[in-house]
């Protein structure tokens, strides 16, 4: 009696185990598929989409400021937010897109904004300065380099995403 009972429960055990493992495997396969299927929905609300900013042909070694507007959705509240970036080509002709937001208190920095430092970014609020690559100049108020935008080039147009902080200078 007890032997028989054991046999059944062993089979049941295997059944349950297989169903369980199979279920996990199915979930593992399906989850990314579902994620891909509803990806556009997730993208629209995450705010991490890329915005077209400028034609790549307009870029040069001299940093230029570009403004663009995005629609920011915070739950039920939608607002237009203007964003800016300083964009230039570095020595290897690679695009660099820096956020103009000063790491001190959030003013907008200007390239060559102070005639004493024509090859630096200058913050008009409290005289913070950054080198061309965005690194903060020591002994000025900012304590971190300027953020860098996520960027991608599609069909000759530069798309910018969110600014990302860089490692400590």
């Amino acid at each position: 009696m007890s032997e028989k009972k054991n046999e059944v429960s062993r089979r049941q055990f295997l059944n349950y185990t297989l169903t369980g493992v199979g279920g996990f495997m199915a979930a593992g396969i399906l989850a990314p598929m579902v994620r891909f299927a509803i990806d556009p929905v997730l993208k629209a609300t995450s705010g991490s989409e890329m915005s077209p900013v400028v034609d790549v042909s307009e870029l040069s070694n001299e940093p230029q400021r570009f403004d663009w507007t995005i629609e920011q959705v915070d739950a039920w509240y939608t607002s237009d937010v203007t964003k800016s970036a300083w964009v230039y080509l570095d020595d290897n002709d690679e695009i660099v897109a820096l956020s103009p937001v000063c790491k001190h208190l959030g003013c907008a920095v200007n390239w060559a904004g102070n005639s004493d430092y024509p090859d630096q970014f200058f913050c008009p609020c409290h005289d913070g300065r950054y080198y061309k690559d965005g690194t903060n100049v020591p002994n000025t108020p900012p304590d971190a380099p300027l953020d860098e935008f996520e960027l991608e080039v599609k069909d000759g147009t530069l798309y910018l995403g969110n600014p990302k902080p860089r490692g400590e200078a």
Partner: protein
């Protein structure tokens, strides 16, 4: 900085750096449609211009919420109120105080303001998304910030 919970957190942490305040003022009137529409555009315009200023000078300029008055108000009385406002609420904190408006009628009373009064032209178009409007705002904010910086 703006009158905004997140900004205020930053403001109380970095108070000593924020020495400039802007109070945008604009009026309301329901007397006739043309005037009402004009004033509505002015309100939108002053909002956009001061926000753009704030975006560029967030670390030193505090932009107050817009002050609304009746268009047909007794101007001298309103100035007394504005002065007590700027003196009592703002003088302790901010060294540089600016009142900014599109309402040309204030120009005559300019000397009576305790703070610096700036009149600036409004845009006349109601399409704020157009490139012309964007350029207009850009030029306005450039000139205004130059003026404000000359006081620093």
């Amino acid at each position: 900085m703006q009158w905004h919970p997140d900004d205020l957190q930053g403001f109380f942490k970095a108070k000593e750096y924020i020495d400039t305040v802007i109070l945008p003022i604009t009026s309301i009137s329901f007397k006739n449609q043309a005037e009402a529409e004009k004033l509505a555009i002015q309100k939108k315009s002053i909002e956009i211009i001061t926000q753009e200023l704030e975006r560029n000078y967030a670390g030193r300029i505090f932009v107050c919420p817009i002050y609304i008055y009746q268009h047909a108000v007794d101007r001298e009385q309103e100035i007394a109120r504005l002065n007590s406002w700027t003196e009592e609420m703002l003088a302790e904190q901010f060294e540089h105080r600016f009142i900014i408006s599109h309402d040309i009628l204030w120009k005559k009373y300019e000397k009576q303001f305790d703070s610096h009064f700036i009149w600036t032209p409004s845009f006349s178009m109601s399409n704020f998304q157009s490139d012309d409007a964007r350029l207009f705002v850009k030029e306005q904010t450039n000139e205004l910030s130059e003026l404000i910086r000359s006081y620093w």
